[in-house]
């Protein structure tokens, strides 16, 4: 049975090996923060981190997940749900219907981990694959900038 290291815990999945990781996470492990949107990597709703990189979980088959891979979902982004991106998302009131926002947040968190001070253009380029039908887009850009500020403030206190 494939073993998964996900949000710091080990899981065994009995799903068939060709099952997209998304459905293992959502329907087998019942971590429903990761959302199904398109199944083709077109919308970004299912974005999780694999070894720190943003990844469309609908596009990865269970059999292709390395057993040493470290997977993080929205539920595991921060133990207290207070990652700077989450704080900024609340402060800027980004979500409307909210369905795509787990994916947006995971995509943004990966950006800031690699680039703590992204320009507007870098944010747009990095976030452009994540669809939002409510079109919360302008607040997404604001919140990524704000999260970058919060991360700087946080690190200066350490």
């Amino acid at each position: 049975m494939p073993q998964l290291s996900l949000n710091g815990q080990s899981y065994f999945s009995d799903s068939p090996p060709d099952t997209p990781l998304l459905w293992v996470i959502r329907e087998e492990l019942q971590l429903t923060g990761t959302k199904y949107g398109c199944g083709m990597g077109l919308c970004g709703s299912c974005t999780v981190h694999m070894n720190g990189q943003p990844m469309r979980s609908c596009m990865v088959k269970l059999a292709d997940v390395d057993e040493n891979a470290v997977i993080t979902t929205i539920e595991g982004l921060d133990p207290a749900d207070s990652h700077p991106v989450q704080k900024a998302w609340i402060e800027k009131e980004v979500p409307q219907c909210g369905y795509c926002q787990s994916g947006q947040i995971m995509q943004a968190a990966a950006l800031l981990a690699a680039n703590p001070s992204p320009s507007r253009e870098e944010i747009v380029q990095h976030m452009n694959g994540n669809l939002c039908r409510c079109a919360t887009y302008s607040r997404i850009v604001d919140a990524v900038h704000r999260a970058a500020e919060l991360m700087k403030e946080g690190s200066s206190h350490v």
């Binding site: 949107g37 539920e75 409307q96 452009n128 669809l131 079109a135």
Partner: protein
């Protein structure tokens, strides 16, 4: 929805009770209706939902107040907005406010009324009644608090969850009052209720504040629960085999030999198409969803493709053009003056054609439904725009397929967050299909649409064909005719021509009495002062059924405002006038455009707003229909002109030198309906690439007057989101039909706006003391014509089709050159 009759109401509503009671050891203070008994309905799978005998709110002795929200959370943060209105009048501390959603059942329907979130009408319809409910609660608490304090009532007032005696300076909290006093206060309805004084708006402390919305934190950490997130014990999954056509295919045979080789496959269920729903549907049921998807692909289904097997978008348009030649088939929606005579007397007459493509909702959360049958009860778990219609529709369907009486069926609908609605979550086929799979498999079933099956079964906005004709004299628009041919959604919803009732007429206008589906024609009834104005409509009923024509954010306003506002620019140019000055001159608030307090309904009509006539949000008996509140039409076209001035000023209209191939376009709207306008103006700045025809929207400047603003930040979010919805529609959204089936299957073929295309947006909210009107939709209608007008001003070509493709711009430019 028309198939099922609303259950009869057995409770008379002549008084409201504000009462504290003790249930299971804890005191409740509630405001609601008489004669109702509290009960709980345990739901083992989900953990149950509290049920209290109050319509609007329940306060407990710890001082916490739970607001009972009947409206669906679709992204508009409506629970927060409604709670703000109650809290304002109740004088309750905002920190003590909680929200919950009643379970939908026959019993609760009789208490809470119709749960239906639609038409940008939640704040408009609820504002007055919930403000009064909050005030009634405050009055009862102040009276009880005065007794607890031993103070004179006249010396007491409420503030911040306390009753304060001015004379002694002493005070008591709401929680303490509930612990010490019994409250049993009656307000006769409607007389006492009508007399309850509401706060003067300058005293508002909670309404008008951008309080953080209560649903947001859970949407940042994965804890928010949507319908798709439901799990029930022993649950199976359903995936739909994509039917041969959108509608009216018939399943002839199912070969499941390949599917049966897939471990975990349970059954191929041919869904009963009772009530004309789920036609041609076969659902693969399996123990896991990926298995169900795989099995759905492995099933070999043969269909009789039905009457729409050869229908496509081009065939529909050809039929519309043919239909428009037959004037006797049309119905008049607007008839002002003598249009034909005025055309005869005009100096210049011209006619143009506009067309629009289909679009669909494409909500990020695909449609889904989870259904369980246990202990004689059907439980539906879903995020929907109407738990009430979901329950009624499923009850009717089950009565047919199980051959039972509707009253013998127990159906409950549990509401969840909705991952995008836009009008697309007010059909219930998925619930019916899931329930049928439950019947066939004996297990709870979660049916999830793949993106592909979601597109294939879209409820589309109808394609449209318009003819617009202008008569110009002395530089003025003296006559205007608009012919609109499309598929009316009304027939599917049991309204409009051939659907039954004569349900809506233009307010004070001298409209010819005809059955017309307002949802398909509205928006053509603009607020410009045109003395001779006619709108005629044709219903292409084949479209209605073939594409399951339905409501989509602003319904007909999207295509009609595009046509009318593009055309107004054409007329202005033809008359040699500036489009801004031309519009302002016609937005003079004269005649029927002055706005009318009781918008033309017969004398004695209780409420101005037609939603109160049709979809009464509370189950009042007829004689107790809700008391009237101010019509959103008050102020009329002058409020629209004001928005246009504000937006033009902020955009610097006429003051800036623009770069090459760049233009500014303007448009106004009064969506949602003639009876429920929200005034909006939009200025778009667009740059066109003359080599490719591609255009980019640089900037949108929007001014909206929605009357009273409950939560400015949420209004701002709604305006931005809907403006980009409009931008998306004019740029790229396009659904087409071929051989009876939609051609687009996923987001690479059906293309909504993405971050990189988002322009700068400048929003001005013109808050006034008028009754609040809806904000979730109107701004989505003005962007398309403003962009089309800007393209004309940028490169001198007029594209009379939505969406506007680069190819169409380029072709028009070549023609012009």
């Amino acid at each position: 929805m028309s198939e099922i009759k609303t259950p009869k109401q057995g409770i008379t509503r002549r008084e409201f009770l504000v009462r504290s009671t003790v249930i299971a050891g804890s005191g409740f203070f509630s405001i609601g209706l008489p004669g109702l008994v509290a009960s709980t309905h345990a739901d083992a799978a989900i953990g149950g939902q509290a049920f209290t005998p109050s319509i609007w709110f329940t306060m407990t002795p710890d001082g916490k107040t739970t607001m009972h929200i009947l409206k669906a959370e679709l992204g508009q943060h409506i629970g927060t907005g409604l709670a703000q209105v109650i809290a304002e009048e109740l004088e309750v501390k905002w920190e003590d406010v909680r929200l919950d959603t009643p379970l939908e059942s026959v019993e609760n329907f009789a208490i809470y009324g119709l749960a239906y979130t639609v038409n940008s009408g939640s704040i408009t319809t609820e504002f007055d009644r919930i403000a009064r409910a909050g005030a009634a609660g405050r009055i009862a608490l102040v009276e009880a608090g005065a007794k607890v304090l031993g103070a004179k009532l006249s010396s007491c007032h409420a503030q911040n969850s306390r009753v304060i005696d001015k004379a002694s300076g002493r005070s008591v909290t709401y929680g303490e009052i509930l612990q010490k006093a019994n409250i049993d206060r009656k307000f006769a309805y409607p007389d006492d209720f009508r007399k309850i004084p509401l706060k003067p708006r300058e005293q508002y402390k909670i309404i008008g504040k951008s309080l953080p919305s209560l649903d947001i934190p859970a949407k940042t950490n994965g804890k928010a629960k949507y319908g798709i997130d439901v799990f029930l014990p022993n649950m199976a999954y359903g995936a739909l085999v994509i039917p041969r056509t959108r509608y009216a295919s018939k399943v002839l045979s199912i070969d499941d030999s390949e599917a049966r080789k897939i471990p975990g496959f349970i059954k191929a269920v041919k869904i009963d198409n009772a009530m004309g729903k789920c036609t041609g549907w076969v659902v693969a049921v399996a123990d896991r969803f990926p298995t169900a998807m795989k099995a759905a692909k492995a099933l070999k289904v043969k269909w009789d493709a039905g009457p729409y097997a050869n229908l496509g978008s081009s065939e529909m348009l050809a039929q519309y053009k043919e239909l428009s030649k037959n004037e006797s088939e049309s119905a008049a929606w607007v008839l002002e003056g003598d249009v034909d005579q005025a055309f005869g007397n005009a100096e210049k007459v011209f006619e143009v054609e506009y067309t629009t493509d289909m679009v669909c909702h494409a909500t990020m959360e695909p449609l889904n439904a989870t259904v369980q049958y246990a202990n004689g009860e059907w439980h539906v778990h879903v995020g929907t725009q109407s738990t009430s219609f979901a329950r009624m529709t499923l009850t009717g369907y089950l009565a047919t397929v199980l051959n039972k009486k509707p009253e013998d069926l127990k159906v409950f609908v549990h509401q969840y967050l909705v991952g995008g609605g836009f009008g697309g979550k007010q059909d219930y086929d998925d619930i019916l299909a899931a329930a049928y799979c439950v019947k066939e498999t004996g297990r709870p079933v979660k049916l999830i649409h793949t993106r592909e099956s979601n597109f294939a079964t879209s409820f589309a906005r109808t394609p449209t064909y318009h003819k617009l004709k202008a008569g110009i004299k002395d530089g003025k628009l003296v006559a205007m005719n608009q012919d609109i041919i499309c598929g009316w959604m009304g027939a599917r919803f049991g309204v409009g021509k051939k659907g039954g009732s004569d349900w809506l007429q233009l307010d004070s206008w001298d409209a010819k009495k005809q059955d017309i589906d307002q949802w398909s024609i509205g928006g053509s009834d603009h607020w410009y002062d045109v003395k001779n104005h006619r709108v005629r409509a044709w219903n292409h009923e084949v479209t209605t059924w073939a594409v399951q024509a339905s409501a989509l954010r602003t319904v007909s306003n999207s295509y009609n405002i595009f046509a009318v506002e593009s055309f107004m620019d054409e007329v202005a140019h033809a008359a040699g006038r500036d489009p801004l000055e031309f519009r302002l001159a016609m937005l003079n608030g004269k005649g029927g455009n002055r706005g009318i307090p009781n918008a033309g309904y017969p004398p004695g009509t209780k409420s101005d707003y037609y939603m109160d006539q049709l979809w009464i949000s509370l189950p009042w008996t007829k004689e107790g229909s809700w008391i009237a509140y101010e019509s959103a039409t008050v102020g009329g076209a002058l409020r629209l002109a004001n928005c246009l001035r504000v937006a033009s000023g902020k955009a610097g209209y006429g003051t800036r030198r623009l770069p090459p191939n760049t233009g500014i376009g303007i448009a106004v709207t009064s969506a949602e309906e003639r009876q429920s306008p929200t005034w909006v103006a939009c200025i778009a700045e667009v740059t066109v690439d003359p080599d490719t025809g591609r255009f980019s929207i640089n900037r949108l400047t929007i001014a909206m007057d929605p009357g009273t603003v409950v939560n400015p930040k949420n209004v701002d979010a709604q305006i931005r989101g809907s403006a980009l919805w409009g931008a998306s529609q004019i740029m790229s959204e396009r659904l087409t039909l071929k051989n009876g089936a939609f051609e687009q299957a996923n987001y690479h073929q059906y293309v909504p706006i993405r971050l990189a295309q988002v322009p700068e947006i400048d929003v001005t909210i013109i808050a006034s003391d008028h009754h609040p009107s809806g904000v979730g939709e109107p701004a989505s209608t003005v962007v398309a014509p403003a962009v089309a007008n800007a393209i004309f001003n940028a490169v001198g070509v007029r594209v009379r089709h939505m969406p506007i493709s680069p190819e169409a711009v380029l072709e028009a430019m070549k023609k012009k050159a």
